[in-house]
Amino acid sequence: MPNLKDLRVRIASVKATQKITSAMKMVAAAKLRRAQEQAEAARPYAERMERMLGSLAAASAGQAGAPALLAGSGRADVHLLVVGTADRGLCGGFNSNIVRNSRQLIRSLVGDGKTVKILCVGRKGRDALRREYGDMIIDTIEGVTKPRPTFDKSESIAERITRMFEDGEFDVCTLIYAEFRSAITQIVTRQQLIPFAPVAVDEEVAEAGGGQKASYEYEPSEEEILEALLPRNLAVQIYKGILENNASEQGSRMTAMDSATRNAGDMINNLTLIYNRTRQAVITRELIEIISAKEAL
């Protein structure tokens, strides 16, 4: 039979845990609102940038002398994976989903005989990948969301990636992050950054151009614009990835902490029931003892 004192201690401890998880849930909810706003505010820019670049890329596709960021280095031997995760845990399956997806990608790339390099944005990704693929991790960038994600930070990451590309350290760059749909659903997304992979040119663009996509005029020149636009696009896409990730992290943490709070509540109810039953049983037993002792006299 469970000891009454042990039960009391246990209930108190679960209650304390519940307090922490419900506080974390509240904090995550507040952060989520801000992160979501920021992510949604940044979407138009990234979308329009992609659209503009898409039509530019379509126009200059296959032409000789296209910038390397667009055309690639002509090889696909060395892959750079930019794995975006959170710096902190306790956010449900958020980090492990991204890491699992990255692992699959790494395994298939290594299986194809490619060299893989990993750039971790977020500490949790590094922690999870270090054991298996420690020698592939070239660096970890932490604290991108502290105190809040800014465009400048993304720009410096993009600059670094561009410089590495120019030095010929990799051929293909892929960004892995979780796209935020709602607090319950986040979708792990792989986005190829280098060479630039144009999204399907949407109907609107073709329509607006009177059916001729490549009818734009360029000022100063097509090449100059592309050269300026491509590194900028890289920064924008990374910025978008970080914002989406941030919103996903908070959403995931909120849901996780919500269910943790609910589980703790269930557990408290259960334990309280056992506690009361035990207490009654003890009283009954004492009564029986007293009565039978009296009868024996």
Binding site: Q38, A41, A42, P44, Y45, R48, M49, R51, M52, S55, L56, F151, V205, A208, G209, G210, S215, Y216, E217, Y218, E219, P220, E224, I225, A228, L229, R232, V236, Y239
Partner: protein, 135 residues
């Protein structure tokens, strides 16, 4: 969309700043200012630091300073992707002057060619901002 108007959008990485149909918008292009009316030919241009002027009813209704970026023009739309945008009325003269001084100092200090280019850009942005503030 109203007839004869062009859908003007101004976006910065942080947010969508402006999205409305206007009669005409004048954008400071890399090779000279250009005005966009309804049915403008498709056109993509780099934007230099300067002031975007929105015209409605024959008058300038809004003036926004941008620190560079890109503009995409289609017959129905004009989209400006700005690096940073501030309404001219909100520019702080003192802060702009300070920025210009800092930028010039940085330029004098930079040795590396890459950093120099960047510092020169900063000076150009600050100068354009001052010019916009003075009007």
């Amino acid at each position: 969309m109203a007839e004869g108007k062009v859908e003007f959008e101004l976006v910065s990485p942080e947010k969508l700043l402006l999205s409305e149909p206007v009669e005409m918008v004048v954008v400071p292009g890399e090779e000279g200012d250009f005005g966009v009316l309804h049915q403008h030919a498709p056109f993509i241009s780099a934007v230099r630091p300067g002031v975007i002027k929105v015209h409605n009813g024959g008058k300038v209704t809004e003036q926004i300073f941008v620190s560079g970026g890109f503009a995409e023009v289609t017959p129905a739309r004009c989209t400006v992707l700005a690096e940073r945008a501030v309404a001219v009325a909100d520019i702080d003269r003192g802060a702009a002057e300070q920025q210009l001084r800092d930028a010039r100092e940085d330029l004098a200090d930079e040795k590396d060619e890459h950093d120099r280019d960047q510092a020169e850009r900063q000076v150009a942005v600050a100068e354009a901002m001052m010019a916009a503030a003075i009007g």
